[in-house]
Symmetry: C2
Subunit: 105 residues, 2 copies
């Protein structure tokens, strides 16, 4: 699960996931959406694969990547649940206070 959050910490990788959410795409196709070199993209795919957030199917010389939504969902919802926010279920217990006095940053 730490791997998932590490993977999500980079904007490029988050955008890859958003692209793959619409449809599976080849490494090359994905790469066209970003202003970085192919090897750099390849490294991003590796991080996403290690986090188990995507997998790839080799077809000839191309690899088609696909998002593993269930894994992402599990990690994200697991965390929101631990924090009692959103759809996670568990009670929220809203942390009190309201006036902005002596507040830091």
């Amino acid at each position: 699960m730490n791997g998932v959050f590490k993977a999500l910490s980079d904007p490029t990788r988050r955008k890859v996931l958003e692209l793959l959410r619409k449809r599976p795409m080849t490494a090359g196709e994905l790469g066209e959406h970003f202003p970085v070199s192919k090897p750099t993209m390849s490294a991003h795919y590796a991080v996403l694969r290690e986090a188990n957030l995507i997998d790839g199917v080799k077809q000839g010389t191309t690899i088609t990547y696909r998002i593993k939504l269930s894994v992402l969902e599990e990690a994200l919802l697991g965390f929101t649940r631990a924090l009692g926010i959103g759809t996670g279920g568990a009670n929220a217990e809203e942390s009190a206070a309201s006036t902005s006095e002596g507040r830091i940053s």
Copy 2:
């Protein structure tokens, strides 16, 4: 929003948020839960503050930190929405395929 995900990429910081979710705590109280030095914790608080995920109220010599749930919620739900998972609403469009043939990692 990138700041939020950057902040969430560290397990210590995620745990700080989970602790603060239960109740506001002072920097010192929080620190007792982790095997790292106070300055290191202080740096973590700074990252969380910059991401707007917590704020602190100074009372005498202590600072009581508090989670800003709405900000975290907004970022997290915003992202899940962009991916069409969970509570976010937006349609999912489950990415197809099923057999595990030629699958890479």
